[in-house]
């Protein structure tokens, strides 16, 4: 990629990130593209080796000649709004490739492990001809789950020694993975970590890791009831063993990303899953879920705009301020205030502007 092209890509991303002039037109065009880049989301706790894995995986695909983009997200300061973005430090194997575009992003106060604009940025990168985008999440841990909404394949990375089986059965990360991987597998406890995750998955999934056909024999008996909202969501994404023609059971792989061991196998598993997801039509269900979540987010931003205090502003918006005074004096509850604002009635003594 020439400098001029890199600059255009970088500027387009800034435009969307900053909601600057022209961003809505750019998104209107990008969302009408017939086909988007495939998105691989990499999440996991701090120190799991996400940046190192991103480096190794981008090198793997770049070497195969793919045009590939990375969005690496780090947390912003809740006090200043600033951020130190350090994911480039791990760029070693992938540093020399001209066909990689790498962008560090701040979460800019957004909770959930991504930046608010992540999916929009994937659309924009698709506009610039990228066929594959890797997103590295903040890595805040259990709450870092929004990536499964944006990604075509979510890879949950962990390391040995983070805790016992209870960690694996907690809600959050364990429910969003299409593929799990234990990094630093040369450290003690790697096999235990792998078994723990497999056992936790075994409570929800029958069948063998990877693609299962209806005729296959179940590996485990289901230990959870077959109908529950949580499982229903998993089955929508991965299919249900014994009922659907095909289903997917998330594999748990091991690797040493820093030594480039197991990276090829992991990259192959990612492509196997994405291929399966498209061929079975499961990926379309995901796109629809993603569209719903995005509409809700954009809609709430528009609805809340009149009541929202600008970043860094000291005063509360005039329409909300009287309610804040009343609540502070012990004269109203927040839900009364919200209902009243929602219904368009004003706090007593307020002039409509």
């Amino acid at each position: 990629m020439q400098s001029a092209e890199l600059r255009r890509i970088a500027r387009a991303i800034s435009t969307v990130e900053n909601r600057a002039v022209g961003y809505e037109d750019m998104l209107a065009e990008a969302y009408r593209l017939p086909d988007w880049a495939r998105v691989i989301g990499i999440t996991g706790p701090p120190g799991a080796g996400k940046s190192t894995l991103v480096d190794a995986m981008t090198a793997h695909w770049a070497q195969a000649g793919e045009r590939i983009a990375v969005l690496a997200i780090d947390p912003s300061s809740p006090y200043s709004g600033g951020a130190v973005l350090g994911d480039r430090i791990r760029r070693n194997r992938s540093a020399g490739y001209d066909n990689i575009y790498f962008r560090s992003l701040s979460s800019r106060g957004h909770v959930g492990g991504l930046t608010e604009t992540a999916t929009d940025l994937v659309a924009v990168l698709s506009l610039f001809g990228f066929r594959r985008v890797i997103i590295e999440t903040v890595g805040a841990g259990q709450a870092d789950i929004e990536v499964h909404e944006t990604a075509d394949c979510t890879l949950v990375l962990t390391v040995p020694g983070l805790g016992d089986g209870v960690q694996a059965s907690k809600a959050g990360l364990m429910e969003i993975g299409d593929i799990f991987a234990v990094n630093k597998a040369d450290m003690p406890g790697a096999a235990d970590a792998q078994r723990t995750i497999e056992a936790a998955l075994g409570a929800a999934y029958m069948g063998n890791p990877g693609i299962n056909l209806r005729a296959d024999t179940a590996r485990t008996a289901p230990s959870l009831g077959s109908v529950s909202p949580g499982l229903a969501a998993l089955y929508r994404r991965h299919g249900k063993f014994g009922e659907d023609a095909q289903c997917w059971v998330p594999p748990v792989l091991t690797l040493v990303a820093a030594e480039n061991q197991g990276v090829t196998e992991l990259a192959q598993a990612v492509d196997t899953f994405i291929g399966w997801s498209q061929q079975t039509g499961r990926s379309q269900g995901r796109s629809r879920e993603r569209a719903y979540a995005q509409i809700m987010r954009a809609l709430s931003a528009l609805l809340l705009a009149p009541y929202t205090r600008e970043a860094g502003a000291e005063n509360f918006p005039a329409i909300v301020a009287p309610w804040i005074d009343r609540i502070a004096k012990g004269d109203a509850s927040p839900i009364e205030a919200a209902r009243s604002l929602f219904n368009g009635t004003l706090a007593p003594g307020t002039q409509r502007r």
Partner: protein
């Protein structure tokens, strides 16, 4: 009807903090990075021992306003003018350079002549760097075209 323009632009000053050449000490660079974060800027840190070519590529990919180069090795007379020249050749005249570290006072006018916006010697209070960047960034902080 609620106007979509209710969402204000959220432009932030972006700074690439770079260590170029063969010097392996980045405490100063990290302290400056932290100070700029506290001032609400987005700081991208490259890590140690990057080439000038890598720094230019990173600065363009990251769409930064500034590159802050920390040099303790004595190679500033070579590396900083080269960095400026490579940026200009890449069409990135708008990305400006500040430098810090161990740089003799008498070298500063020459570096400024070669396109380094400002040199901050070690011991400079972070607030001084923040003030400079805030003041000087006013112009380029217009909307992205």
């Amino acid at each position: 009807m609620i106007a979509a323009t209710a969402t204000p632009s959220r432009r932030k000053i972006r700074v690439l903090i770079a260590k170029v050449g063969l010097d392996g000490h980045d405490v100063g660079a990290r302290v400056v990075a932290r100070g700029l974060l506290d001032a609400g800027m987005e700081v991208i840190y490259t890590g140690l021992r990057r080439t000038t070519e890598e720094v230019v590529r990173a600065a363009i990919e990251e769409d930064v306003d500034w590159i802050g180069v920390s040099i303790l090795s004595g190679a500033h007379q070579v590396l900083l003018p080269k960095l400026r020249r490579l940026l200009d050749e890449a069409g990135a005249q708008d990305i400006r350079i500040i430098a810090g570290g161990i740089i003799p006072q008498e070298d500063i006018p020459g570096l400024q002549h070669d396109g380094v916006a400002q040199v901050f010697l070690s011991g400079t209070p972070i607030a001084e760097i923040v003030d400079f960047l805030m003041r000087e960034s006013v112009q380029p902080l217009k909307e992205v075209p």
